[in-house]
């Protein structure tokens, strides 16, 4: 793993999310947002194994990290969130409805798992080399249509990698308490390959990702990688996180993968990346603020 590169990508996403939080509290943004602070490394590492030319990616409501890992384009995402015409969908979509190239997401939790599975069938029928990467949340795992899709993918042998961003909560609801018996048992009982990983161990996560992607590419069969992680911010802009204990929050901060990455690069490299990204984010938002809204729809 190129730690410096991964750090830079993660740091870009985190800085973007921090800026978004700040702009919301200054009353400069409207609508809603789902921050991915703490979870950045999942899409960043996934992108290391995705072929943008051919592969499809479907996402979740918590998509800023996915979109930035996919495009690196903070300006267009800032525009999208502000409803400006240079956004990925001209500001029509906003924070959670985005399409860019072969990346597509929507605001219905787990909904993209179903259509991602359909794209995989399309790929199979046309004998393309591509695969689908489908992000979803641990909460989304409990939607009926997600179970249906996993069964379809397993029984039809579809080339799709499901990446569960398992932050242990659906909004305020602790997923373990509401899920029987556990995701691994469910997935393996379908005869599907299942890998469990954790953002607290970035190197292992990178290896696990590599294994998951090569499995799907080699066998043209589905796989679920269940990545345990922690959301270090509220579910959405209005969430004060009362449902999480202080001990849990503290533990999550200690396991922050970005802190691990920082410990594993040179100080000088870290500082130069931080400076570069800070400027990039400020420029992106400044420029986005002067971009116009579309005038016709």
């Amino acid at each position: 793993m190129n730690v410096e590169k991964i750090y830079k990508e993660c740091y870009r996403i985190r800085s973007f999310e921090k800026k978004v939080e700040q702009e919301f509290s200054n009353g400069k943004l409207r609508g809603t947002t789902h921050g991915c602070i703490g979870q950045e490394i999942i899409p960043v590492l996934a992108m290391e194994f995705i072929n943008k030319e051919t592969d499809y990616v479907v996402g979740t409501h918590r998509c800023h990290g996915q979109v930035l890992a996919y495009t690196g384009d903070t300006y267009r995402l800032a525009c999208e969130m502000m409803g400006r015409k240079d956004g990925f969908v001209k500001g029509i979509g906003g924070s959670q409805h985005i399409k860019v190239d072969k990346y597509l997401t929507n605001g219905i939790t787990g909904g993209m798992v179903t259509v991602g599975t359909g794209i995989a069938l399309g790929i199979k029928k046309t004998a393309e080399d591509a695969i689908v990467t489908s992000f979803f949340g641990d909460g989304g795992f409990n939607e009926g249509y997600v179970q249906e899709s996993l069964n379809l993918a397993a029984s039809l042998e579809l080339p799709i990698l499901y990446i569960c961003e398992n932050n242990h909560y659906a909004m305020s609801t602790p997923t373990v308490k509401y899920s029987a018996p556990d995701f691994g048992t469910r997935v393996t009982s379908l005869g599907m390959y299942y890998i469990m990983s954790d953002t607290a161990e970035p190197q292992k996560l990178c290896n696990d990702m590599e294994e998951a992607f090569s499995y799907v590419r080699k066998f043209r069969k589905p796989c679920v990688i269940d990545v345990h992680t922690a959301r270090l911010c509220g579910h959405s802009k209005s969430d004060s996180m009362e449902y999480m204990s202080n001990e849990e929050k503290q533990k999550n901060i200690e396991n922050d993968p970005i802190a691990w990455l920082e410990r594993n690069i040179q100080n000088s490299a870290r500082l130069s990346i931080q400076q570069q990204i800070a400027k990039e984010i400020n420029d992106a938002f400044d420029k986005a603020y002067i971009c116009e809204e579309i005038l016709e729809f």
Binding site: G31, G83, G91, G94, G139, G144, Y243, E293
Partner: protein, 318 residues
């Protein structure tokens, strides 16, 4: 009293009187629901507030089943947009039991709906028309003119499976009767009343028929015409959306504008217009345009019905 508080009192009354249940995502403490309607209730009634994982179809089925078993149940769908996921439980199950087997079910599914907040295409819609015209279920909408808590209790007592359409923007609003304003002219004796609002002592020139989240806008329109153009607009606020029988007899004029937040085409307003036409009342429909609701502010305003649209329509029709 505030809309949200009235609603919460209605829910509590159901629990107190019938040992009823609330089912939904994140409705327990400390969250108390995405819009805080059930805030504090799980501490007060721990056995009656049932939190669920995300599985709208499954937990609406829980509600239908509990109601079949005789319980009083209210299900919360976090955003009205997600009622697409529960259509089968409501339309092919609950509705059929109610209509074919004359089964009474004390079931109310609440769904906060509506836009104007930049939440984008899947978190802003008013989709209730999907559930209208289905025998066996009813669609009821509270508003600031129609006490939401009282209406909820009427719905749950009715024994008919109900889609109860709240509007997100209404939660913090003060109810009209408590505002010291004198617009309310009449509240009919229907089980789900029609409220008419009108300037005092004046004969109305035109009628604006609406429901739910469109009431605050309608009141602004009524005031505008009264003060700026000396035209008297009568507003009829309906609460039982899925049954128009006899309701158009309350219209006192010969010209009407029907206003809803959802897409105007193939909508509730079209049905109201048809009823009006039978009485010889000329009517026009206003609603959202047939586009996905944008997140960008100006574009969202181009799609959803706005104050200026209603003013322009009424001016044209007068």
């Amino acid at each position: 009293m505030k809309y949200l508080m009235s609603l919460r009192q209605g829910l509590e009354k159901m629990i107190e009187t019938h040992n009823g249940y609330l089912i939904g995502e994140d409705i327990q403490e400390p969250y108390g629901g995405a819009f805080k309607v059930t805030k504090g209730m799980s501490s007060k009634y721990p056995d009656n507030i049932i939190g669920t994982p995300m599985c709208e179809q499954g937990f609406t089925g829980l509600g239908v089943g509990m109601a079949l078993h005789g319980e009083y149940v209210s299900v919360e769908i976090m955003f009205g947009d997600f009622i697409t996921l529960i259509a089968d439980q409501m339309i092919n199950h609950a509705a059929k039991f109610a209509d074919m087997y004359q089964q009474r079910m004390h079931l109310v599914v609440r769904c906060p709906s509506g836009g104007y907040r930049g939440y984008g295409a899947t978190h802003s819609q008013s989709l209730e028309k999907i559930f209208m015209g289905i025998p066996g279920i009813q669609v009821i909408a509270p508003s600031i003119a129609t006490d939401p808590g009282d209406l909820f209790n009427r719905a749950i007592e009715s024994g008919v499976p109900t889609l109860f359409v709240e509007n997100k923007l209404d939660y913090p609003k003060e109810l009209l009767p408590d505002r010291g304003e004198f617009w309310i002219k009449n509240i009919t004796s229907d089980n789900f009343p029609v409220v008419s609002l009108c300037p005092e002592g004046e004969k109305p020139d035109i009628t604006l028929i609406t429901y739910g989240g469109m009431v605050p806008l309608s009141v602004e329109v009524m005031k505008y015409f009264l003060y700026e153009e000396e035209i008297n607009v009568e507003i009829l606020v309906l609460s039982e959306l899925s049954n128009l029988e006899g309701k158009m007899n309350y219209v006192q004029t010969h010209k009407a504008v029907v206003l809803e937040e959802g897409v105007a085409e193939f909508g509730w307003g079209s049905e109201v217009s048809y009823e009006l036409s039978k009485l010889g009342v000329h009517s026009t429909r206003i609603g959202a345009r047939r586009r996905s609701i944008p997140s960008a502010k100006k574009a969202e305003e181009m799609v959803l019905p706005m104050f200026d649209d209603v003013i322009a329509t009424i001016e044209r029709d007068m």
